[in-house]
Symmetry: D2
Subunit: 285 residues, 4 copies
């Protein structure tokens, strides 16, 4: 590569390494269903500039590593499996400077029948997925947990009024609209050893509860409340990022058919959609 | 159109008419979230052969009709809303010979907190959707209900042995494999007035229970058992069609890493996939 | 299975068997990129009713068969590869009554540079795919070819006027609208030995040309013209089915901003969409 | 919001504002088909913390603005339309600190027949899309152009050898493999007034040519060459980021069927996939 051009940054890895692990116990089987993404940075420049692969860990090897490590010990929580994977690459290969592991978990629940949960038969639960991101270099380690596609909708206590109007504004003010969204949230922890599973459940519940009960003056308002409650209740959470599309439900104009529409009949739309994002953190940080 | 070419059959309509209806009661709100497809057949040939639109009901009008009818009465169950829509087109327009209405319902559940269900806040439940198809002409009416994308997996009591081997067979026999599938089922009713909601719940439970408990010798075997139990338990069901992809979970070969794999670590794959389909009916029919 | 319940029909097979074949010649390489679906019917009832797999050809074997047959001879056109696959299953296994093979081909073109086509580097061409369906039993054979997702749009010579109006009609008549659609067509041939590749290209061109030049009074009108021209020009085509969604482009009302909109600014929408379908055939048939 | 918690950052806007514009000329019509995303930052904190919407520009207004601005002047290139949109929000509203506009353009080509291009009928061209991102605040402006989903594959001159091996490596070295990828690239310009359309075409051609001709020792190697050539040839390009998944084509083992496979028959797979990313820049920067 000539003097005037340089590689500014680079990373590479394997994406969508899918893994199902069955852990078989006397009280029934446990089922884990993960998709793992691995990205490494480090001394890989020669592979870009000169096609010199001597330090390249093949992405196929990364895939194999996921399966081998999955076999060697219980998976535990996805934050813990991600930590093990990140540790492996940094410890095993001195030229790896940084490892980022992202895991998305499909959630299965046991099939219920006659009030009992089946021991080995499962049903996929919801579009929602549990996520974790581990970012580790030689000095520091960052653990984030999250949720994706938690689709919620409330039919009451949602308003959008008093907004700015300019020459392109046609939207009517409303103190009673539908508010539907697909919450994606990611929060970072300030410790590396925590009860990740219990925390995730509790944080999810807090977000659901806040969404349900909040007297919403807008998506921004509710998003902020959701983040605030999580930070208030969970000391282990350092910071939280929320991203909430506004999946608009448009009131249908039924007047051409001589019908009123007292907030009853709506067209849900996927596009265009509002998109509201914010990060909340603790003041000291 | 010249003598030698003719229009053999035709139909047209509107697809993906999305409708959210909120029914507001004192005990809380109900939320219905549907996607409606309408297809009409009848005396529409001139629109094809001569561009003569005089008998064409615009698909935009079909869309409007969905919203107007949704406002004029409670939606009730999707089978009932589909019947109302089909009836409307046949009664209103003498040249419509046949109306087919397909409805897919997204399922929402109330957000739970502290053991109570919220009165007006909901969460989307599962990838699974409830479906209904109404096919009505001047003489007869057919009502089918169904389920789509009911994703299930069992980690025990699933075998696949004793199959035919030819020169292209490499698959090993197994008496213990994972069995994952996304059930799509549609069943027709022999009556037009039924408790469609209760029936749907019970039929869904029957299919889940059968899948969970069946000692499976193959996808065909379990599919057939699921259909059989539905027909046995529910007199109102005339016939049932099931379609079950085999979402293979392949056992990972860990021997290169000097590890065994006692049915623990799998790669789930989306493609290729087996696809098993059958229709079960009553012998008299 | 008890006397009162019977298996009405059944079929099974492997879907989405993906195959890339490189045929290496002195003038450059050829690249074929297919997705194959196989469905067999026959004497498979015992696998459903009794879990008896003795006559079951595993879907894994079907997958292997695709790759083995791909190696044993040139693929040729997808209609021909489909025929070979169908023949194989019927000839090899006396209990197979019927084989249906569907193939979807991704279309690649050579990368062009300085007016020359590269010998071994390719670019995926279009969302459109070429398709073929072979349906073969012990007595007859049906060969159909097709196209999927041929996305076209015309900005002139498209009207929709003179349609029926009822109490739910709000659509305005227009003699100048955008007409966008994604053509899916499938036509059956009356011979089993044809120049399938040349025919496919010519039929595709005929449909494009007709769409482009037709003075459209509606989707039905243009769909019918497209089918008619194909039947007129190609004696080998027995029948053609076309399915054309109306991907509406809605004229934006700019009057709130004191702007006119002389058919210039549109919102394209995916849902809801009109869906127009018809089959055209020869009168004698 | 209590003292201990603060809003760290926030932004909001409208996504997937779809716009089709027809520009009608004597020589034929031009068709533009865009999807626009708008994100604003600025003095919006009160809407989050207090539900005070007085400074909130509704996302519905942003959508209207896209359509109104599209009508008021020719769209020109997407970089220019993006600049107009960003300028509008900053000039019109003093409390907007930063506007980010992302535009994705579907590419249509005229339908060709008898060697001539049709004046008003179009066909969607390729999965590839042209993209632009404008990021503008009160002090600076950044313009990036790009390409998404440019799917390419080469059947020769691609190797992957001499890589690192550890205890989890099973991959075989190869000096002849298929190399398929879907290029996503984004490059920033060092000027705000350029012939954006011509540049985009030339940069795309350079990437295609480099991919086609490069003697590849790995995805990293070719990615780097593609970026390097763009920077060498185009002074206006300040920096380029490339992201290239490795869409593996796995050689099928046909030995169980007593067949060889001299790099002919492959299974293309979507998951897992390698993912290689890098940014190249000029040394002075």
């Amino acid at each position: 590569m000539p003097v005037s051009i340089k590689l500014k940054d680079n990373r590479y890895g394997k994406s969508r390494v899918r893994l199902v692990k069955v852990e078989r116990g006397s009280a029934g089987n446990d089922l884990k269903d993960l998709s793992v993404d691995i990205q490494l940075s480090g001394d890989f420049e020669a592979s870009y500039t000169a096609g010199d692969n001597r330090l390249v860990i093949p992405t196929d090897t990364m895939k194999n590593t996921v399966y081998a490590l999955a076999r060697q010990a219980p998976l535990l929580e996805i934050e813990e499996f991600g930590l093990r994977l990140a540790d492996h690459f940094l410890k095993r290969h001195a030229h790896v400077a940084r490892a980022r592991i992202s895991i998305s978990e499909n959630l299965w629940k046991r099939i219920e029948h006659d009030g009992r949960q089946h021991a080995y038969s499962f049903q996929l639960s919801g579009p929602e997925r549990r996520t974790a991101s581990i970012d580790r270099d030689r000095k520091s380690i960052s653990i984030a947990a999250g949720i994706a596609d938690l689709v919620v909708l409330k039919t009451k206590n949602s308003a959008f009024e008093g907004f700015l109007r300019d020459e392109y504004t046609t939207l009517k003010e409303t103190n009673d609209r539908l508010f539907g969204t697909a919450v994606t949230a990611e929060w970072s922890y300030n410790k590396t050893s925590l009860k990740f599973g219990d925390l995730w459940e509790s944080i999810r519940d807090t977000m659901l509860e806040t969404f349900a009960n909040h007297d919403s003056r807008g998506v921004q308002h509710t998003l902020s409340a959701m983040g605030e409650f999580v930070l208030k209740r969970f000391d282990a959470v350092r910071e939280i990022h929320l991203s909430m599309p506004n999946r608009h439900c448009l009131l249908v104009d039924l007047s051409p058919f001589h019908l009123d529409n007292p907030n009853e009949v709506f067209v849900p739309t996927d596009e265009p959609h509002g998109l509201i994002e914010a990060t909340l953190t603790r003041s000291g940080s």
